[in-house]
Every structure is written in structure tokens, then in C-alpha cells.
């Protein structure tokens, strides 16, 4: 497996972040998932990314649907409000909440069952609206909480513990997201925390929906031979598009690489995503190419990871609505109740 991250600047994690908060203040409750679950590894990287990016936890809103993955918002950022919604409908709850207060930093955690089946419609429409938040699918190919049925992302030919073979084609959520115009599409692997944390940081810098398909093996129901979502299989088939580095807006680091070796993308907030080429021609700003590459990966049995597609300029739903700068939820009455003359005028028009 190739190196997935680019070393940039200091690797030392400071004891306090720029808000003066300690990493412990980004922790959540104790996980009740199975020991070794990929989801916990992802939660750890969420804690780290939010801590290192100095995101104020009180300004974060955590959302989830139903399933093992959807339990995880209770296991990170206890100082943020959390909302465990109904199955497949996290996008609607999150959309409403972000509309009510667009200063919130939203993070939604869903699973492959929650998103690719019951929640597929809401997932797709949330992408279309480009709600500014992070949407992670912790993808293990099975329904864990109901004890191991195939999900819609299970690969054709993959095998359940009981020996049942999946004979339906998988849904590639990254391809779907690209097709629907998502401005940030990435795939990571729970077993590669360094890559995951950089993807998360980049996602935090994105003004729009940042979709992350996180391959996250289920140690209880889908980690055996014949599974294509096991730790072993994922490690053997992980195909990196590039090494990912991230430079926050407040760090003045010059990235020193040979010309042509590195591609830099400046994000909305001034931070930079630094991609070091592994595949010569991969350009994450080219949607057509992204779709072709994803299809090729599916045909060749590769688990393609990295930043699949990036279009930081796309307008978010909040931009399109021309929302006032203050959050809607706390606007004073004089801003939300038109004056007496307005009603008089309306009444006159109806006379």
C-alpha cells in the first residue's frame, strides 16, 4: 500500500488548539460498537480533525440516521448538539437545521444501508441542494444493527458469513455524488487514519456539501474471506489517486516539491489542499474523468481512495437563498414581522 498522506510542516499535535481547547474537549461518549469497528476509527479522526482545525464544538451540529454508523455522533464532540433522526432521513433534519442557523458547522454520519437504500432520495436531493456540511457514509456493505444483511453497496459476488452470495450490482455513492454535481467527493478507508484526517480537514474547508465515502469494515458481520469490505481485502485493493496534504489558512507553509509533482487547490476559507501525484493524469476537477476512473476501479476490483472530485466554487443552497447574515433562528421580531403598513397594503389590495 502506497503512502497516502503528504508530510507538510509540523506533524506534532499541539496540546491546545487555537481556541485554547484540549483534544479531550472534542471527545464524545464511550462507544458501544464492537471492538475494532471501523466506525470508531473514523470517529477518532473526526475528533482529531475538528480539534486541529480549531472548530468551536458548540457551533457544530451532528446528525445521523439509523444504524451502527448513526450511533457514532454520540461518540465524538459531546459539546456539540446531536440529532439521531429516523432511518434514511438525516438529510432532511440536517437541511432544516442548517437553514435555521447557517452558522452551524454540520456533520452528518450515515451508513450504506441508511444512505444507499432507504435514504437514497434524500441523499441525492441534499447533494443537489448543496447544503454546506460534511456527509460521511461509513460504508461496510452490510446492515450491522439488524445483524448482517447485504446493503446496496455490497459488491457483486461478495459473500455473507452465512455463505449467501450477493448477486446484485453495487451502488457507487461516489459516482452518484459526482453525477449529481457534488462539489467535494472523497473516498477514504478507516484503516488509513492519516488520509482520513486530511480528507476531513479538507471537507471542513469546503463551502458546500462535502461527501466522504468511508470504507469502514464491520468486524462482526463482514470481515471474513469472501467479503470485499474486510480489512484485509481493503488493504490489498486500496488504490490511491494521490497523496493528500492539507494546509490550513492560518499556516504560511510553502510546499516544496518538484514542479508538476504537486497540485494545489485553494479552498473557500483560504486553506489549501495539496495533492501529490500518484496517478499521472488524475485531475480531481474533471467530473467526466472522475466517473470514468470510478467505473474502471469497479471493473478492476480496486478500492479507489483519495479526493475523487473537487469543485470549490459551486454555490451552496445558503448562497442561492441569499440568506441574511444572521442566523434565522434568532432574528428579532422586528426583522421577521413586517410593519403595520405592510398588512394595511395587503388588505387594501384584497378589497
Amino acid at each position: 500500500m502506497a503512502e497516502s498522506t503528504l508530510k507538510i510542516g509540523t506533524t506534532e499535535v499541539p496540546k491546545e488548539n487555537r481556541l485554547g481547547l484540549k483534544a479531550a474537549e472534542y471527545q464524545g461518549g464511550r462507544s458501544t460498537l464492537c471492538a475494532g469497528c471501523g466506525h470508531d476509527a473514523i470517529s477518532n479522526q473526526i475528533v482529531r480533525a475538528f480539534y486541529e482545525m480549531s472548530v468551536k464544538p458548540e457551533m457544530v451540529a451532528k446528525f445521523s440516521g439509523i444504524g451502527c454508523s448513526s450511533k457514532t455522533p454520540a461518540y465524538f464532540l459531546s459539546r456539540a448538539h446531536g440529532f439521531n433522526a429516523v432511518h434514511g432521513r438525516m438529510p432532511a433534519i440536517a437541511t432544516g437545521a442548517i437553514l435555521a442557523n447557517h452558522h452551524l458547522r454540520g456533520i452528518g454520519v450515515s451508513g450504506d444501508g441508511d444512505t444507499a437504500s432507504i435514504g437514497l432520495g434524500q441523499f441525492m436531493h441534499m447533494i443537489r441542494r448543496n447544503i454546506p456540511m460534511i456527509y460521511i457514509v461509513e460504508n461496510n456493505g452490510v446492515y450491522g444493527l439488524t445483524k448482517g444483511q447485504f446493503s446496496a453497496t455490497a459488491d457483486e459476488g461478495s459473500k455473507l458469513k452465512t455463505g449467501v452470495i450477493n448477486d446484485l450490482p453495487p451502488m457507487d455513492l461516489c459516482a452518484l455524488a459526482v453525477q449529481l454535481g457534488c462539489g467535494f467527493v472523497a473516498r477514504g478507508f478507516a484503516g488509513d487514519p492519516k488520509q482520513m484526517v486530511n480528507i476531513l480537514k479538507a471537507a471542513l474547508a469546503h463551502n458546500g456539501l462535502a461527501f466522504i465515502d468511508a470504507i469502514s469494515p464491520c468486524v462482526t458481520f463482514n470481515n471474513h474471506d469472501g467479503s470485499t469490505k474486510s480489512y484485509t481485502y481493503a488493504k490489498e485493493h486500496d488504490e490511491l489517486l494521490h497523496q493528500i496534504g492539507f494546509v490550513p489558512s492560518y499556516e504560511q507553509i510553502e510546499v516544496d516539491y518538484e514542479p508538476g509533482q504537486v497540485k494545489e487547490v485553494t479552498m473557500h476559507d483560504g486553506s489549501r489542499i495539496v495533492l501529490k501525484k500518484i496517478e499521472d493524469d488524475y485531475d480531481p476537477s474533471d467530473a467526466t474523468n472522475a466517473l470514468v476512473r470510478l467505473k474502471k476501479a469497479e471493473i478492476e476490483g480496486q478500492m479507489l481512495t483519495g479526493l475523487v472530485y473537487l469543485q470549490p466554487e459551486k454555490k451552496s443552497f445558503i448562497d442561492l437563498l441569499h440568506l441574511t447574515d444572521e442566523p434565522l433562528n434568532t432574528l428579532p421580531l422586528e426583522r421577521t414581522r413586517p410593519p403595520r403598513e405592510a398588512l394595511d397594503k395587503i388588505m387594501l389590495d384584497l378589497m
Partner: protein, 647 residues
């Protein structure tokens, strides 16, 4: 310019006494959907309104864009009875598909104005026919065949105006309003009106049956549909997040709201103080409403019965997780391929208990456009105060038809935002709070909004699996404590929801209970019972669920109580029976469920029929519905109710 005479007018002798009926008539216009008759009908209705005569207009339209039959009924009544009346006085037949049927349904002595090619005058000899060569008259108006078709409808307005004495100036004023002062649209329409007036004047004998004369009962009134009224209310109620999925008959509520918000809620810098999302379905629409309510917005959506069905799961979450949000249900006949463009009050049970487990909801039920305005604000307040989904039950008749009303009053009171702990309050409490603690003993806990800048502000929201501090719990006692507190919240709500409007008359032995648009028919029926039969009645008009204390005392004070509603099973009647306990033997149901609005005569007939079989002064003789099915007046015929008496 005089037209060659082509119409054959037949004028029957006027009614005995020869005196015309003034300001009391029903005009029924039958056209083809999509032929553009809506503006003509509005102009006709408005011009009567402008002459000071109380009037209503009801559009009975098909689920179709163009081609199917549609009807518009205008009722003018000097005494203000503007609910639906079954009997038509003046029929305008423009639709070959329904002409014969429409004429056959007329009472003897009615007037029928028809398009010449329909040749209707042979159908009956007890109806007065006026044949009008509309196509021919329209020829001179425009070279454009499409425009000619539209203007044809304006010609019948001119004909009616001339026949009934509606003033031309008022018609012109109504046209000016309808076409928003646009000269290009106004001129040809005025020409069409004049064409109709001229033709009638030159070719039709004067009719002296029904006349419209100027009076002064509409000065200062507005005309508006219930959906627009709700939209105006919501805007002045400070709504900030609106989501919707198009469904008849609710779509125009959100469409009006969007229009009003764009006009009145965009700051000078072009920034909006509201967000609107057209959702992918009703599940998403209500999910967004609840997410927004959770985060502290005043949020609402509007839908109809099938949409409510789709919202069931989320509403359960909203109830148990205590999330504010307002859902308007503009009731109609269901399902989607039912009669989506016809009215009903059939969602009572669905809305009162929507979802899984022990759920009960706050439901507001407006009867008028002014209550649509008021309850739009009240619902947003109650949702935030009680931290629960609140429904508003309107219907197609109220929502999509035009109603006269006094102008809405500017809300003087500030909005009520409920129990929200701010950063300052959390500091005072030193962070010691619990999301689901019943601190005040009213069942309503305190909440914080996401984004509150205090390290102790956050909590985790999930359905019912939590303790008073919002910690995950599956302990039996925690669950029971939660659902018992939620029941207490509904008890508290009984003190705060709009109270019923009670009109108790001295000596009245029988009472009516109704709600929503049935109100218009009830009030007129009470008038009929009093003036025609000397029967005095009391009336309680419900305005909300849960039911409040006034209901029990009303039922207790009367011998027999007729619950009148527009559904087959008497859904509200059953809820009332449960509420009044032993007094339930007094409850009788009158049910109107044809898809058309309930009318007064149907109620009056049903009461008389049921009263006739009641031994006086003993309160009750039990009649079973099935035993009397054959006795019901005109049971099963569209436009009439099947009164059913139940034990």
C-alpha cells in the same frame, strides 16, 4: 353596433306577485377546464361584491389541466348566507359535455343562459332559456382565435350584468383589478363585456326574477382565499423556514407565502429573512420543518391527506423528541387518485393521532379566512411553546375558494418562543439543566438551541430512549416517565388551544357541534330551523384538539347534540363520544361526504327527520343507521348528505 338578431328568447311569466328577488341568488357557470373562465367568474363575483352584496365563489374543478368539465358557483345573499346552496337560480352553460345534465338538475323556474350550438331549450319547458351566439359575438372582438375563446367568457358576464342589473362601472373596476391595471388586457375584456351587454339589451326580454341591487354590506371587506390568508398570517407570525411539496389543494398556500415573503421579508441589501425549500417529497418537507424547529426556526409546511400519510414517521419522532413545527393539512378527498380537487373533512383521525405509539397532537381548526390568518400565527407560537408538531386543519373549500372577510388585524402581541435557555441563562444556572426535566410541572421542558455558546448547552436528541437529562436509556421507568410527561403536556395544551365558540340559546333542547367550513351551513341551517320551524338551537364550534372543558358542559346542557361533519364515519363525533362519557348517548351524527361543501338545507332536513322520530320530551329514541338507510332524503345523490343516526 347592433347585431343581427339570432337569439330566440323565451320568457316565462314572472313569479306570482311579479316582484323580483333582490340580492339572493345562485349563479352556476359550467365551462370546460382550461378555457379561461376563472377570470370572468372572478370579475362577476367581484362586481357583485363591489355593489355591496355579500357573495361567495366556489370553484368546483376537475383533476385536470384542460378539457374536463368545471363549474363555478356564485352565491349572493343579502343576509350574509354565503355557504353552499344546492339549488341553482341562474345557470350558464358553456360546456357541451355537461349541458343537458346541468339543465336537468335545475329547479323549475330557473334561468339557463347557454351557448347557441348547445341547443338546450328543447330539454325542458319549465326553465327559462336565453340562447346566446357567443362565437358569433366574439368574432368582432379579435382575430386571434385563442383570445376570442377567452373573451367569450367575458361576454357571458356582460349578459348576466344586463339581465340582473349589475352596474357596468363595477364590472370595469373588477376587470381593472383582475388584470392589475394592464391596459392591453383590460381593453379587449371591456369590449367583450359591452358586447354581452349590448346583445342582451337588444335581443333578450327583460327578466324580473333575480336582481342585484346596490346595498352596503361589503364596505371595507376583503376577498381572499384561505390559503392566501394562512400565508399572510404565517408571514406576520414570523415564519423563517418554509418547506413544501406540491399537492392539491395546499400548493397555493406555499406559493402565496413565497410571493408575500419575497415582497415583505427581503432586507434593503437584498438578503432574505426566510428560507424556502421545495422538498423532494412530504417526508423531506416535514423532516426539514422539524430539523429547523429543533434548531430554533419558526418552521412550517403545507400538504393534504396523502402527504400527511407520508409524514407519519417523522411526526412520531417530532412528538417524542419534542420538536416544534407546523403542518397545514388542506383536506380533500383522498387518495391521490381519489377526488383530489373536492373538499372533505376526512383527516381528523389521521391527524389527531398520527404516527406510532402513544401519540396525540395539537390541532387547530379554522373556519374562516380570518381564522386562517390568526391560527397561522397561533400554530407557530403553540409549536414552540409546546415543543411539538402542531397541525392546522383547513380544507379545499376554505383554502382554495374566495371568501369575504373583515380585514385582518395586525398582531399586537409579540410572538411566543417558548422555553429556550440562552447562554446567559445557562451561566446563571451554572450549566445545571436537563433537556427533559419537568421543572415547571406543566410537562414542558426547557431546551437549548444548537449553536448556543456554552460548554453545557449541548444535548443529544433521539426519540424516546433517553432519561430526563437526555442520556441514552432503555430503562422502563425512564420511558414511562417520558410518555407520562408527554401526556401531561397535552393536558396543559387544553388550557392554551383556541377555545370553542359557543352560542347557547335559552330553552334550546338541541345543540349542534361542528368545525371548519361546516360552520357556514350550520349557521344558515339554524336560521332555517328557527325561521321556518320555530326550533331554537345552540351551537358549539370546535376550534382545536385536544378537546377542552367547554365541550362536556355543552353536551350536558342539551338533550340531543348533532355533530355535523364532512366525512363518512363521523370521526370527530367519535372523538367527542369518548370525551363526554355517559353523555355519548346524546350524540347524533349528520354526515356530508360527496366531495362538495356541506349545505344548510341538507342539515335542516336531516335534523327534522331525526327529530321527528324522537319522542318528546324524552330525550332520545335510538335509530340505527342501517334501519333507516332508505328513509334518508335523497341518500347517495351528489350534493346531499346521508344523515346517519348512531347510538
Amino acid at each position: 353596433m347592433p347585431e343581427p338578431q339570432t337569439a330566440t328568447a323565451v320568457l316565462e311569466p314572472v313569479r306570482s306577485g311579479g316582484e323580483p328577488i333582490v340580492n339572493d341568488c345562485t349563479i352556476h357557470v359550467a365551462t370546460v377546464n382550461g378555457s379561461g373562465s376563472q377570470s370572468s367568474n372572478n370579475v362577476l363575483m367581484r362586481s357583485i361584491f363591489q355593489m355591496g352584496v355579500p357573495v361567495s365563489g366556489k370553484n368546483m374543478f376537475p383533476s385536470n389541466i384542460a378539457g374536463l368539465p368545471t363549474w363555478f358557483t356564485i352565491r349572493a345573499n343579502k343576509d350574509g348566507w354565503i355557504g353552499r346552496k344546492k339549488e341553482v337560480d341562474i345557470l350558464v352553460c358553456m360546456n357541451p359535455q355537461t349541458g343537458r345534465e346541468d339543465v336537468a338538475a335545475l329547479p323549475p323556474g330557473a334561468i339557463c343562459i347557454y351557448d347557441a350550438p348547445l341547443s338546450l331549450k328543447s330539454v325542458r319547458n319549465d326553465v327559462i332559456f336565453f340562447e346566446i351566439p357567443f362565437a358569433k359575438l366574439a368574432t368582432a372582438l379579435s382575430d386571434d382565435s385563442r383570445l376570442r375563446k377567452l373573451l367569450t367568457n367575458m361576454i357571458y358576464v356582460g349578459v348576466i350584468a344586463e339581465l340582473m342589473g349589475i352596474e357596468r362601472d363595477e364590472i370595469l373596476a373588477a376587470i381593472n383589478k383582475q388584470f392589475k391595471g394592464k391596459k392591453k388586457a383590460i381593453d379587449p375584456n371591456v369590449a367583450a363585456i359591452d358586447k354581452g351587454i349590448e346583445f342582451a339589451r337588444a335581443n333578450l326580454p327583460k327578466q324580473n326574477l333575480w336582481r342585484i341591487e346596490r346595498m352596503n354590506a361589503t364596505a371595507g371587506k376583503i376577498v381572499v382565499d384561505g390559503n392566501a390568508a394562512a400565508a399572510i398570517g404565517a408571514m406576520f407570525g414570523g415564519v423563517t423556514v418554509v418547506t413544501w411539496y406540491p399537492i392539491t389543494p395546499s400548493s397555493s398556500l406555499c406559493e402565496s407565502l413565497i410571493e408575500y415573503l419575497r415582497h415583505h421579508r427581503v432586507d434593503k441589501d437584498g438578503k432574505a429573512t426566510f428560507a424556502v425549500a421545495q422538498a423532494e417529497d412530504e417526508l423531506a418537507a416535514v423532516g426539514m420543518v422539524l430539523g429547523a424547529g429543533w434548531a430554533g426556526a419558526r418552521s412550517m409546511t403545507a400538504t393534504a391527506g396523502p402527504g400527511i400519510s407520508l409524514m407519519a414517521e417523522f411526526i412520531g419522532l417530532g412528538y417524542f423528541a419534542e420538536l416544534p413545527g407546523v403542518v397545514w393539512d388542506i383536506q380533500r378527498v383522498g387518495p391521490s387518485t381519489g377526488l383530489p380537487t373536492r373538499t372533505a373533512q376526512g383527516d381528523i383521525n389521521q391527524v389527531a393521532y398520527l404516527s406510532h405509539g402513544d401519540t396525540q397532537h395539537i390541532v387547530l381548526i379554522p373556519s374562516s379566512v380570518s381564522e386562517c390568518f390568526d391560527f397561522a400565527i397561533e400554530a407557530l407560537d403553540l409549536a414552540e411553546e409546546f415543543q411539538t408538531p402542531v397541525f392546522v386543519l383547513s380544507d379545499l373549500d376554505l383554502g382554495m375558494n374566495n371568501w369575504m372577510s373583515d380585514p385582518f388585524k395586525y398582531p399586537e402581541k409579540p410572538i411566543r418562543r417558548g422555553k429556550v435557555l440562552t447562554k446567559a441563562r445557562l451561566e446563571e444556572l451554572k450549566g445545571d439543566w436537563g433537556r427533559y426535566r419537568d421543572i415547571d410541572g406543566d410537562g414542558i421542558p426547557w431546551r437549548t438551541l444548537p449553536g448556543t455558546d456554552h460548554p453545557m448547552a449541548s444535548y443529544f436528541t433521539r426519540g424516546s430512549g433517553h432519561d430526563a437529562n437526555a442520556r441514552y436509556s432503555e430503562r422502563p421507568q425512564d420511558y414511562k416517565t417520558l410518555v407520562d410527561r408527554l401526556a401531561k403536556k397535552i393536558e396543559t395544551a387544553k388550557l392554551f388551544v383556541p377555545k370553542p365558540v359557543v352560542d347557547s340559546r335559552d330553552g334550546a333542547r338541541i345543540g349542534f357541534i361542528a368545525f371548519g367550513t361546516t360552520d357556514y351551513a350550520i349557521e344558515e341551517s339554524r336560521h332555517q330551523l328557527r325561521s321556518e320551524h320555530g326550533i331554537e338551537t345552540s351551537y358549539l364550534r370546535l376550534r382545536a384538539l385536544p378537546l377542552t372543558a367547554e365541550l362536556k358542559s355543552f353536551v350536558a346542557a342539551h338533550d340531543r347534540v348533532y355533530v355535523v361533519e364532512q366525512n363518512r364515519d363521523g370521526q370527530m363525533g367519535d372523538i367527542i363520544k369518548l370525551e363526554v362519557g355517559a353523555d355519548q348517548q346524546k350524540i347524533r351524527k349528520i354526515l356530508h361526504y360527496t366531495g362538495l361543501p356541506c349545505d344548510a338545507r341538507t342539515i335542516t332536513d336531516a335534523v327534522l327527520q331525526m327529530e321527528a322520530t324522537t319522542e318528546h320530551p324524552e330525550p332520545l329514541l335510538l335509530i340505527r343507521a342501517d334501519a333507516h338507510a332508505g328513509d334518508a332524503p335523497a341518500a347517495g345523490i351528489p350534493g346531499t348528505a346521508s344523515p346517519r343516526v348512531e347510538d
